[in-house]
């Protein structure tokens, strides 16, 4: 096993990796931008190397500077976390050239899976079902229309060159196809200078299901069952769970086998995720593969008892897998809520700023993977996710009950956050009955309305009135004190009306 590992990341995932390294008595090296001097990962690593600048481009994406730091510090391996350099085949290749272990798959596997069209082709060749689609290239309108008719309406038109919803439109019937196709083409040309349009079967209210795979460098591949990540906002996951309430044991075995086909097709050799969309009939289609650790890996850890970061390290160090498929036993149910510094009642607007109070939950079946602390200022440069709260229960209901309990214990002051949003979601009848799909949040607008529902308004009124009263008292005392000729330092201890600031 390695003696020292550099973590080319920040936030909660850097903390997750540091914790694992600490548990294995491996030294950790952090890198940090100027904005991150006060970040938790800098404090908790054994060494910390500064990357001057603030933006990701200046810092966490500076692959050569990071490689240089690793060499200088004597780190034998680099963990890329997720995001940043984690899926850059070029970086994985440079690590290999420099004789540093990249804690992730080989660069060829990243490359093949990184490009959507290539990935689809690889999967199709491996016999994996993909969302039916047609790449227009310089296809005529007639050819495109034929293809659409063949896959069946509704279909989705997407700019082949772009992303982020641009040039995207849904076509419900053949009669609408011609005008929609022309419009999509011209929008794509305008936005990306490339008028190629990609046609995809539109799945109605699909579920997002993904299979966790683990492969070593000796040709062993196992899967750890699936996660469901249908609750999304702004095309980003907010709540994940494992196992999926929509996946039976048979379906799990089927999806697992497909995922392992994908893994074998690209000689995969790390932990990774094969993502599917499941339509309302239960049919699953390959969406994409993530060649890295996922944000939501804790729910899989809860139900399997495995430590995915530790497995990544062992695989990168050349160890064979310690277990066979039959050793993978799923116990109970786990849910993860991503805690964001954002305002769910104003279009999930990010809310960076100073965390003036932080009370985090614990107790039975609760885990908090956080990257922040009380007194920390959430910077504006990076992702607004501050922690991942996950709970485990013998069944889904117990996991939900524990999540509601843990959300109640979670208290964050100073910034907007989505704790109440999660609480309302966990109580929502459609969530409780597991009637999920990727448009869930849009379907239930009450989730993004700020209205309180618990009838405890009088308690809030009482608390706020006392707060107002005490602020007034403090102000008037302060005025008196600054006028009096006394040592304010001695006074300050007595002013809190009982409320003191402990450190």
């Amino acid at each position: 096993m390695f003696k020292k590992v550099l973590i080319a990341n920040r936030g909660e995932i850097a903390i997750r990796v540091i914790r694992c390294l600490r548990e294995l008595e491996i030294e950790s090296v952090a890198v940090y931008s100027d904005a991150d001097r006060d970040a938790l990962h800098v404090r908790w690593a054994n060494q910390a190397v500064r990357l001057p600048g603030n933006t990701a481009v200046e810092t966490y994406l500076q692959s050569e500077k990071i490689l240089e730091a690793a060499k200088r510090c004597g780190a034998e391996a680099i963990h890329p976390g997720y995001g940043f350099l984690s899926e850059q085949a070029g970086f994985a290749r440079r690590c290999r050239e420099e004789g540093i272990a990249f804690i992730g798959p080989n660069p060829e596997a990243i490359e093949q899976m990184g490009d959507k069209t290539t990935a689809r082709d690889v999967m199709k060749k491996a016999g994996v079902p993909v969302v039916p689609g047609f790449q227009s290239m310089d296809a005529t309108l007639a050819e495109a229309k034929d293809a659409s008719a063949q896959m069946g309406y509704p279909v989705m038109l997407k700019a082949a060159a772009g992303g982020g919803g641009k040039g995207m439109r849904m076509v419900e019937r053949a009669e609408q196809f011609e005008s929609a196709f022309q419009q999509a083409r011209s929008e794509a040309a305008g936005a990306f200078g490339d008028d190629r349009v990609y046609i995809e079967k539109y799945l109605m209210r699909p579920r997002h299901i993904e299979v966790q795979i683990v492969s070593d460098k000796h040709g062993n591949h196992i899967h750890l069952g699936e996660r469901e990540c249908s609750i999304q906002r702004r095309h980003q996951k907010v709540v994940e769970e494992a196992p999926s309430p929509a996946v039976s044991d048979d379906k799990r075995a089927e999806l697992g086998a497909i995922a392992l086909m994908a893994a074998r097709a690209v000689n995969y050799d790390s932990v990774g995720t094969v993502e599917f969309l499941m339509d309302q009939t239960g049919a699953c289609y390959f969406l994409e593969m993530n060649t890295r650790l996922q944000v939501e890996h804790p729910v899989t850890e809860w139900i399997t008892g495995l430590d995915l970061v530790r497995m990544q390290l062992e695989i990168a160090a050349g160890d064979p897998l310690r277990l066979d498929q039959k050793d993978v036993v799923i116990r109970g149910h786990a849910i993860e809520c991503r805690i964001y510094a954002e305002d769910p009642y104003h279009k999930f607007r990010p809310s960076p700023g100073l965390i003036t109070y932080l009370g985090t939950p614990t107790g039975p079946g609760v885990r908090d993977d956080s990257g922040v602390y009380q007194g920390y200022e959430v910077p504006i440069y990076y992702d607004p996710m501050i922690s991942k709260l996950s709970t485990w229960g013998a069944d889904r209901n117990q996991a939900i009950g524990r999540m509601i309990r843990a959300l109640g214990e979670y208290k964050i002051g100073g910034i907007a956050h989505n704790i109440d949003f999660h609480r309302h979601l966990m109580h929502h009848p459609a969530f409780v009955s597991a009637d999920l799909d990727t448009s869930f949040i849009d379907r239930y607008p009450e989730l993004t309305a700020a209205a309180a529902t618990n009838g405890l308004e009088h308690v809030a009124v009482i608390a706020a009135s006392i707060k107002h009263f005490r602020e007034r008292m403090r102000q008037s005392l302060a005025t008196q004190t600054s006028q009096a000729d006394t040592s304010a330092w001695k006074q300050s201890g007595r002013l809190g009306q009982g409320g003191r600031s402990w450190n």
Partner: protein, 168 residues
């Protein structure tokens, strides 16, 4: 002390009387509560209302005098006003120009401007998109009115507090 508490658009009339030992007599819309409010940690209250127990984190009042309260069961945002003070302030406000300045709430880059000078806008209508923290953030009109001036252009980088748009 007489106060008005606004929650979700509703107004409650509050009378607060401080007793000894962190106890209070608080009447809300005529209903009286005997409250024991301990604050071992600043802004983290242990409330006993009769024998009902609540732990409530309270935020400091913001610029608009709003106080955030977080209970185990729910979070509430309240506006507490002192009726006398409110009357005084309201008369003061009338002397102001009635203009609203839309400022950048975070540093970022202007991606899109959805209005032009002279446009009529409604409160809550999206008027500008700012990219920050890897995301597009829609900025809404804080009040209904007419766009008086636009102070930034598309692709401009702005700092927190930068004046973006004035609505009259």
């Amino acid at each position: 002390m007489e106060l008005i508490a606004r929650v979700d658009g509703r107004e409650r009339l509050v009378t607060l009387k401080a007793l000894e030992n962190d106890h209070f007599e608080i009447t809300i819309d005529g209903r009286m509560h005997l409250v024991d409010c301990r604050e071992r940690v600043a802004n983290l209250y242990s409330l006993l209302i009769g024998e009902d127990s609540y732990e409530v984190r309270v935020g400091d009042s913001d610029a608009r005098g709003r106080i955030e309260t977080q209970l185990y069961e729910e979070g509430y945002l309240l506006e507490i006003t002192d009726p006398m003070k409110a009357i005084l302030e309201a008369s003061g406000r009338k002397n102001a120009s009635g203009e609203a300045s839309v400022e950048a709430v975070m540093p970022g880059k202007v991606l899109r401007i959805a209005v032009a000078e002279g446009d009529r806008v409604e409160e809550g209508q999206p008027i500008l998109v700012l990219v920050a923290m890897k995301m597009e953030n829609e900025i809404e009109a804080p009040k209904s009115g007419t766009v008086k001036s636009i102070h930034v252009g598309v692709n401009d980088s702005v700092e927190t507090g930068a004046l973006l748009i004035t609505i009259a």
